[in-house]
Amino acid sequence: MGRRKGKERALQPSVGTNVPRTEGREKVTGEAKYIDDLTFPGMIHGRTVRSTIPRGKILSVTLDPAFDWSGFTVVDHRDVPPGGQNVVQMITDDQPFLAVDRVNHQEEPILLLAHADRSRLDAGCARVKITYAPEAPVLDLAHATHVLKQLTIEKGDLAAGFADADVIVEGTYQTGHQEQLYLEPNGAIALPGVDGDPAGITVYGSLQCPYYVVRALMRLFGLPIEKVRVVQSTTGGGFGGKEEYPSLLCGHAALLARKANRPVKMIYDRMEDLVATTKRHPSLVRHRTGVKRDGTITAIEIDLRLDGGAYLTLSPVVLSRASIHATGPYRTPHARIHGRAYLTHTPPNGAFRGFGAPQSQFAAELHMDKIAGELGLDPVALRRKNLLRPGDTTATGQLLEESVSAEEVLDRALARHEAALQRNNKSLRRSKAAGGSKARLHGTGLSMFFHGSGFTGGGEVKLASRAGLVLTRDGVEILVASTEIGQGTRTMLAQIVADALAIPYEWVATSDPDTARDPDSGPTVASRTCMIIGRILQRAGERLKEALGGYDSPKEFRRRARAHLDEKGPLTIIETYEKPGEIRWSDETYRGDAYGAYAWGCNIADVEVDPVTYEARCTRFTAVIDIGKAIHPLLAEGQIEGGTLQGIGWALYEDVVMKDGRMANGTLTNYIIPTTLDTPEIDVEIVENPYRHGPFGAKGVGECPIDGPPAAIVAAIRQACGVSLDRVPATPERIMIALDALEGGRR
């Protein structure tokens, strides 16, 4: 019964284990404060008055004189202060915070109201009369002519490639909008002043990118960075929907707060969030592919179009990622990819998990199946013949040398699916025997995909992200602006730091970012947080260890840490992104190493189609993805399951119905996402093929899983009932029409 333990147990690595989520307890117990849970003394509530036409001049904005406007704060474009600009800081300066004399899409913000009584805002909004001189809008890609951004990727000699081909196969594919549908709608609270300085502004919000908001507020008010503070509140999901949109919303709350000189809370309800905020870009993709009889691809020509909506926002970079991924994970000696993002008079489309790559790879995979059909080849054999392997180059000329796993994920997915079939064969036969008068039609489909981790091309160099560690008496605290939005950022980064320092996971403290304290580690997007920020923090940990003079046990770390704090004072280590030496990229020619590393994936979908109702249902799903290293296997698997399900939703259910440029089904009742009962068994296998510049070998995981499901499901539906759909979602209505066309063709 000695007081000292006889022997200190060796510290086990945290990376690769399923440690408890750092913020899990507060979320499960309800202690976590989401934006609508926060309140400040004197706080009032804000609301947005929006356009009701898709395009036109604003003739008049009138506050009904018969209405009692006392107690209201009213803001319009004239309230942007001198020195500030009515421009949402993004890639170009086309989007105003508040419309001035014209509107370019439905639900465009025109006026802001605030009142202490939230329920008075409805009455106020109803008493604002806006008159317009409407202009003819362009509402979809089919009619769009105004190009917002275009780019061309060229490899080899396209004409020579087609000359080498035995067959040329053409196809056109399209996808519609998709809503991110985070659980927590967009919301923000702005407070006048920062740290007692009345000239500044402080904003709390549900958001992914605190420093995007900082820069938006600097521009709006003409303020220096030290007078702007942005704090992330506990955030209930983002999926890209809280990447750029919060810049606009936080600006609105800040305009109201400065005019009212009180804290202002703005929370969108689900209906406002659905109709007004960003969606996935609709796409229209044409493929023309030269192939030899044996299936060898000789040339790929792709015309890729995205619907950007009324303002540029992030469309150029979405277009870039879509175009780079447009061939799918296949090699070709000759390629030309022409990408264009078009203007339409619809709410701006924006960031959404996958960022263009799901759209372009959906087309690529459907086209591979079309080629297989025309050549009479097995779709899997055709893919295997053309897969990118080490030593191959991509369309941008990137030589793939390390962590290239297309063939491995294909083999593992096939084996895993086969094993599942064996297991379920008995029960399957039984259910068929017990089936109704018209048996369901079964089919299986496969898709392959890859996804670049981190910002495209020179993006990471431009971002020059910074992150670091503060030494505390108990361990370290992470300084980072990367946000926890449900995906596990805080947990995963803490694991990396713990192992870099060789201390227990519990000794690493994390918090939600506050730009007054945390350095700019860039946006939490692009599957970059683990690979890029994790690596920066790993280096910070290594440097901190050096600064403490090294140690051989956690106990010794703590002794040295305390001694350092007592004798030498505080210790903070901030590290900056360092580009791996071999990465080369040219923005001018669009050639080079588009991404440091890629995640690789293979999906196999089992689907049944009801011949009575034409409903397709996914019954089993296999997802095998190489992410380099699973820092937290359970969270990584959860990311893959979630991304897969979001892809299944897009494939089968999620249909944004646009009428006159406005989402007509903007409710959870009518915008259909899968429920638990619609969710198949999702069989996930993680492949760990390490990337030497990622922390412990890790690449990105967040986006890759959503690239594959739609194509696999469409292929499965084809096998089940013979119809070749060229777009998603595969709603029963579309399957019925396709079946009718098929039967008509047979007659």
């Binding site: 409805d122 009575v612 109702t613 034409y614 259910y653 009518n670 429920t675 029963p732 209505e733 019925m736």
Partner: protein, 279 residues
Amino acid sequence: MRAAAETLEVLSPRTLKEALAMLRDAAAEGRPLTPLAGGTDLFVTLNAGTLQGRRFLDLWGLKELRGITKDGRGKQSALRFGALTTFTDCVRSSKVQKHLPILAAAASEVGGLQIQNRGTLGGNLGNASPAADSLPVLAVADTTLILASSDGERAIALGDFYTGYRASVRRPDELIVAIEVVVPKGRQVFRKVGTRAAQAISKVVMAAIGHRTAWGSVAPTVVRAHKLEAYLDGGGRDLAAAQQLLGDEIHPIDDIRSTAAYRLRVAKNLLAEVIPANR
């Protein structure tokens, strides 16, 4: 919520008699009350700011309106449901499971569990949505609604209750207090074709008892396919002819959930499934 709570008036009677008096007085003043019998649809419109009424009569506390009983024996036997019978009550009731299993089936496919705990048969009937999942079941059976007012009760066959889209013969001073369903004979079938496996509004919903069928989401009101029934009762067995008759009796439309063409086709396909026309 896009409606100011203080602009709403909710009366909470403690007895049925009190409730009927409130309805009578409100109707006499020309300020009618909307009965609130669960509120699962009403709250959606309240949240969306599209709710028309501002005055409500909350029936939730009225114990007199609860309970499922079986009266009579043999041919004359009937199930009597208090208007506040919830969908969960229907799912759990052994009487319903035994004598009207299609009602239990329909109830188990309404919304999700929370909705089933709160939504009621009386509310479903009074709210009169053409997509209501319980209505085809009640319409295909011999169902009588008991309407009560301060002046007394009257019985209305369900077939005579609706006069158009969300319109009925119920007077503003009346309340649906009970639903009586004659225990049916014959094979019972219920099929809901929704937008997904749960939390779904029907695109087509149907119930069948023997040759009789009733259809939801395909017309302004629930439709009992009488001509089709007469054809089948008369020995007609040609599937195409039966489908043609059904097509004449329903009037589906395009909306944000589906298309008229899909609804019509699926209704005909379901008919082929449930009616033994060619057997």
